[in-house]
């Protein structure tokens, strides 16, 4: 699909999302939506340098905070409309990215990674010692009551972030399919060979660092208005450092889809977890998922899906493979949310049910992994987990009342039944009956 068409479609999807939000007209949706979207931008930006070029940036929080503090600075010195602030933040963060890159990119990737960590702390120290932007006490940024045209200010912020997301995704995809993207890939694959073949690796790396840093800064620019009170520990916080890395690595680093999937999935998960459990636990889950994925699914969810498609249906997609993909996708998403809900149940003094739910959720995630890797134990485990989930759903329906819960658990049971039925199909079973040594999904 050509880029102009893609851009139009992306804008179209954004318009649909925005209108859907207006339909429900709940402010909380806009708040939560903003959070998820700014993670999409952050994850996509990180991936341009991390996934495409193979250079890890541990200091994403620093670039994000640069954008936020640029806004704070101008808010105090000379108030500007947010779109202008976004552009300014992008420039500032981009220049800092360029500078850091220039100092360190001639060395090994490891030194760049450590330098980005250093940068984040240096920036934090500078901000803490700079009273004009609030120092360690933080800065209040009063959100205007209304926004031009739109009306509700939070809606305005949401819309801006939506447009920024489209920009980030379009930029990422354009890079991927261009000569620049090829160059980035050679840097990731074998930088020495790339240089020997004429690829100007330093220049390309600097371009990647500038774009990546700039986008991160842009994501940070509206943040002070969103949150109302900006202090260094939240702007430079742990959450941004780990999420910027975890979301693309869990989603998948080789294409623009990965960070999008990772950010939406993990962003939503964290919103739910922050409300139902503590935010510390929610960060713990992200950290554990990062380590787990890096070890067993290094190409992320998108990578798992791509490998599955390549191995199961080399020519074209069939209903069967689509079905298995849906079952596995459901397993992962339901499993992850299930973990969060079960932990909150355990915390809320319903340990027995919570533990059962936790076990089922983890089994669902594991079986989804097995299904995608075309392992025969995956099929077995999937059948068992979905059967168990039916049991769990019935118990929940029995003990927990309410229409909402009823619909949710009833729906879960129905899906589980459908999944088990699908998994009994002869064609599906044959995918998993391959003897070891023959067709193995790439390990």
């Amino acid at each position: 699909m050509r880029m102009p068409l893609f851009t139009v479609i992306a804008l179209g999807v954004a318009a649909v999302v925005y209108l859907a939000g207006k339909l429900f007209a709940i402010d909380y949706l806009f708040f939560a939506g903003y959070t998820v979207l700014h993670f999409v931008v952050l994850a996509t930006a990180w991936n341009i340098l991390g996934g495409y070029c193979g250079y890890v940036n541990f200091g994403s929080a620093g670039f994000f905070a640069l954008g936020a503090y640029t806004t704070v600075f101008f808010h105090k010195a000379y108030p500007l409309p947010i779109p202008a602030l976004i552009v300014l933040a992008g420039i500032v963060a981009g220049l800092v990215g360029l500078g850091t890159g220039y100092l360190t990119l001639r060395l090994r990737g490891v030194y760049f990674a450590i330098a980005t960590l250093a940068l984040a702390i240096v920036l934090q120290t500078l901000v803490i010692n700079w009273n004009y932007v609030g120092g360690s006490r933080g800065a209040y940024v009063i959100r205007p009551q209304t926004a031009p045209i739109i009306g509700s200010y939070i809606e305005y912020l949401f819309l801006l972030m939506l447009l920024l997301t489209v920009l980030a995704v379009v930029v990422a995809r354009a890079i991927e399919r261009s000569q620049l993207g090829f160059g980035f890939a050679t840097i990731r694959d074998d930088e020495i060979a790339a240089e020997a073949l004429g690829v100007p690796t330093l220049r390309l790396k600097l371009i990647a660092t500038t774009i990546s840093g700039g986008l991160m800064g842009m994501a940070g620019a509206p943040f002070p208005y969103y949150i109302g009170y900006l202090e260094p520990s939240s702007a430079f916080g742990l959450a941004y450092a780990v999420n910027a890395i975890a979301m693309p690595m869990i989603g998948g680093t080789t294409s623009w889809i990965g960070p999008l999937v990772g950010a939406i999935l993990l962003g939503t998960l964290q919103q739910v977890a922050s409300v139902t459990i503590s935010s510390a636990v929610n960060l713990l889950i992200v950290g554990i998922l990062l380590v787990a994925f890096v070890i067993i699914a290094p190409n992320g969810l998108v990578g798992l899906v791509q490998e599955f498609l390549r191995a199961a249906t080399p020519e074209r997609m069939t209903w069967r493979s689509l079905g298995v993909l849906s079952v596995a996708g459901y397993g992962i998403v339901a499993g992850m949310f299930g973990v969060v809900f079960s932990l909150s149940a355990i915390a809320a003094a319903r340990p027995a049910l919570g533990v059962l739910a936790l076990v089922v959720s983890v089994l669902l995630i594991a079986s989804a992994y097995g299904l995608l890797k075309l392992q025969s134990w995956g099929l077995l485990l999937a059948n068992a987990s979905f059967a168990l989930s039916i049991v769990l759903g019935v118990i929940e329906l029995w003990f927990v009342g309410g229409v909402g819960a009823g619909i949710m658990h009833g729906g879960a049971v129905a899906i589980a039944v459908a999944a088990i039925v699908l998994l009994q199909d002869a064609g599906v079973k044959s995918l998993y009956r391959v003897p070891p040594g023959e067709r193995r999904a790439t390990s």
């Binding site: 890939a185 050679t186 020495i192 060979a193 790339a194 020997a196 073949l197 004429g198 690829v199």
Partner: protein
């Protein structure tokens, strides 16, 4: 000096270990030079220094009349220097076609400043792969190649950069008799088209038949630089390398 490549007093150390000791080398335009020596004698290190992958501590390298010592590797490639790696270094996430496309995009196109239509590029990639007999596997990935095929890909990539000087570093290791003949014929053909070639090899038969002149490197020092017949009869060369 009108030599295409002029290396003077080139030295390289790794910590306390002297890898190259004041190497002098000159290669004329259109020449076919063979470079031989035992393992560890510094042949690949020399290539790395000439091409910019490593930096030499002392000495100078002139290419096509210009001093290239300060230049980064990709700049030297743009000037017309290309090499294949002794241990093949393909790009694992790119298909063979795309592997070969990289030097076309980043060297050839960069040099001329012209953008060729995509179709032209594709054709050129296929031609290059066909040249080394890999066009059947054009859309496959390096992990599907045998060691021998990877060496051929290395060569194809180096040639794709349209070099003035091509350095083939052990491109024939592991090849069968007929495959060696094919590669030799290819190198001769390239040479007839005007490309200067430095052949680094252990396969004496190939080196002897191909080279107009042979340089011998032992323990980082050049011990001979002469016609093939003279080198083969040189007692020091025989003692250090050939007569084992």
């Amino acid at each position: 000096m009108t030599a295409l490549l002029q290396v003077q007093g080139l030295s390289k150390r790794f910590g306390g270990f002297i890898a190259l000791d004041e190497i002098d080398l000159s290669v004329e335009k259109g020449e076919r030079l063979g470079l031989i020596g035992p393992n560890g004698s510094g042949k690949s290190t020399l290539v790395n220094c000439i091409c910019g992958t490593l930096h030499n501590e002392a000495g100078s390298v002139h290419f096509d009349g210009r001093q290239i010592d300060g230049m980064v590797a990709h700049e030297r490639t743009h000037l017309g220097l290309a090499r294949s790696f002794q241990l093949p270094r393909p790009f694992p996430t790119l298909s063979l076609v795309d592997n070969v496309r990289i030097p076309l995009l980043y060297t050839v196109q960069a040099r001329s400043g012209l953008l060729r239509p995509a179709g032209d590029l594709d054709d050129r990639c296929r031609d290059l792969l066909k040249m080394v007999g890999l066009d059947a596997k054009a859309t496959r990935f390096p992990r599907d190649l045998t060691q021998v095929e990877m060496r051929k890909l290395e060569l194809a990539r180096a040639v794709a950069a349209e070099p003035k000087l091509l350095i083939a570093d052990e491109a024939m290791a592991g090849l069968s008799h007929s495959e060696i003949e094919d590669i030799l014929a290819l190198l001769v053909r390239l040479n007839e088209q005007g490309i200067t070639v430095i052949l680094i090899e252990h396969i004496m038969r190939a080196v002897m038949s191909f080279s107009q002149r042979i340089v011998v490197l032992v323990s980082g020092r050049k011990i001979a630089d002469d016609t093939p017949d003279a080198v083969v009869n040189n007692p020091e060369v025989v003692g250090a390398y050939l007569g084992q």
